[in-house]
Amino acid sequence: MIEVKNLSKKFGSTKVLDDINFSVEKGEILGFLGPNGAGKSTTMKIITSFWAGSDGTVHIDGKNVANQSLLTREKIGYLPENVPLYDEMRVFEYLKFIAEVRGIGKDEQKKAITKASEACGLSKVLRKPIDELSKCYKQRVGLAQAIIHEPDILILDEPTTGLDPNQIAEIRDLIKKIGKEKTVIFSTHILSEVSATCDRVIIINEGKIVGEGKPEELMNKSSHKELVYIKIKADKEAALKRLKELENVENVEVKDKEASNIYGYSIEPKKGVDIREYLSIAVTQQGWPILELRRKKTSLEDVFRELTK
């Protein structure tokens, strides 16, 4: 669906994008992750033909965004960063304007506007001027504008920045709902968002792709250590000794103390081994009650920080 090949972008002598390669399949939700200024927005601006790349190509359904841009633009719905809108227009006027420019026929315009505004929960504010809307509603207008012509591809540049947690959840659900039938690329630096919404993640740093794959794959690949935390009611020294003797255990540390004989231990197992089951049996055999047991998985945050350091 989207093919990015050897894409580079220079501003003067600074390289903002350096030989980027990736492709997106139909129906996929791709998360674009990276610190501020890593090149996420630049890549999106090139895919949407706002800018041209300095080198390399971007194809959408086999069409080049540089010289067949009128055709590729039709397939894309784009929400730029910070959601720029024509503030003085009313929501309805604005959506009608987009529908007209997008070449939706007079008869279907009304239907398209109703459909898009219902999908984005805008029905109640259609008559309001855009500058009177809250940030969350502006974001919805931006989304409605992007889906009004039922594009195959949605490109959303940081669609949730500046929203409160409830609104973020709302917009995220909206993206998930809309993304069911569409190919979506969205950028963010909020990590929980990615694992919650995306099929695949691309981590980009200083203009280069530094990680790519499903969120779980990325976490597995990481060299970050997976730890098991266990809280036992037992004498500290005895427990430490017994835990260290266990098979596949590399290291044990005392993590915290709850009461005089209740301690929490952090256990580092050999890489790739799940010791939880074995651990719980071994501890109960000693007659020590287990109060807590959990695996501390590598989070995407760990991966992100490791790759973009």
Binding site: F11, G12, K45, T48, S49, F50, W51, A52, L70, L71, R73, E74, I76, Y78, P80, E81, N82, P84, L85, Y86, D87, E88, M89, E93, F97, I98, E100, V101, R102, G103, Q145
Partner: protein, 243 residues
């Protein structure tokens, strides 16, 4: 394809024209234009006692000098400042379509403002037996001159993010192009370049039109002037990719 091309320009144009009326700019503009124009006209009209509008049309370039850049200053500068340009230029439209529709929107607004001065020719025609022909010709000329100012102002708006800068530079550029053809400037210029300056000046072409004479030479000049600056404008918009 062609039909669609025009249709898109029309939709963009409608939005541009509407955005004037969505903000107070339109009403302030038309108000100032009518008050200043009428006042200057009637101040002399009864003193001179001639049933003609020549006086009015020789003043018009000076009024336009300030009002045309006021109409165009916002058009690109504001899109750039607020970021809507990014969204506008990723719609399936060409840069040229956008430039053209912005120009046509501004021109139509100026046309509406000119239409509202209809009370002047009516007064003149009812008070004496003035010729309708020259008055009509002068109106057409005013539209050409205004269009040239607008094309120039629009181009200047495209090179800055700041409306105020766009306005001031616009006034200066319009003034410069208006003055290089003026008689007293030509008198001081070297004889070799004087004819060229006279040809390039927006004002020298307006003088004959203000008298009510429409010469095809002047019309061609104005249309080329407008076209050149719209073309430059499209290049500037395109240049976002060259960086």
């Amino acid at each position: 394809m062609d039909k669609n091309y025009i249709k898109i320009i029309y939709s963009l144009f409608k939005k541009e024209l509407m955005s004037y009326f969505n903000s107070p700019i339109a009403y302030i503009f038309i108000g100032v234009f009518l008050v200043v124009g009428n006042w200057l006209f009637f101040k002399w009209f009864f003193l001179i006692g001639q049933a003609s509008m020549r006086n009015y049309f020789s003043l018009l370039p000076w009024i336009f000098l300030f009002l045309a850049p006021a109409l165009t200053m916002r058009l690109w500068a504001e899109e750039k400042r607020s970021g809507t340009i990014e969204f506008l230029l990723t719609l399936p439209v060409t840069d040229w379509q956008v430039v053209l529709s912005k120009f046509l929107g501004a021109l139509s607004f100026l046309f509406i403002a000119l239409l509202m001065t209809f009370t002047l020719p009516i007064s003149v025609l009812s008070l004496g037996n003035a010729d309708f022909g020259p008055i009509f010709g002068s109106y057409l000329g005013a539209l050409f001159l205004g269009g040239s100012y607008l094309a120039l102002g629009l181009f200047i708006s495209s090179v800055t993010k700041n409306q105020i800068i766009a306005f001031i530079l616009g006034v200066m550029a319009c003034f410069a192009f208006f003055m290089i053809g003026a008689d007293f400037v030509l008198a001081g210029a070297p004889a070799s370049v004087a004819p060229i300056m006279k040809f390039l000046g927006l004002g020298s072409h307006f003088n004959s039109i203000a008298k009510g004479v429409i010469d095809s030479k002047d019309v061609v000049y104005y249309i080329s002037f407008i076209f050149i600056f719209l073309w430059l404008n499209a290049r500037v918009i395109e240049s976002r990719s060259w960086k």
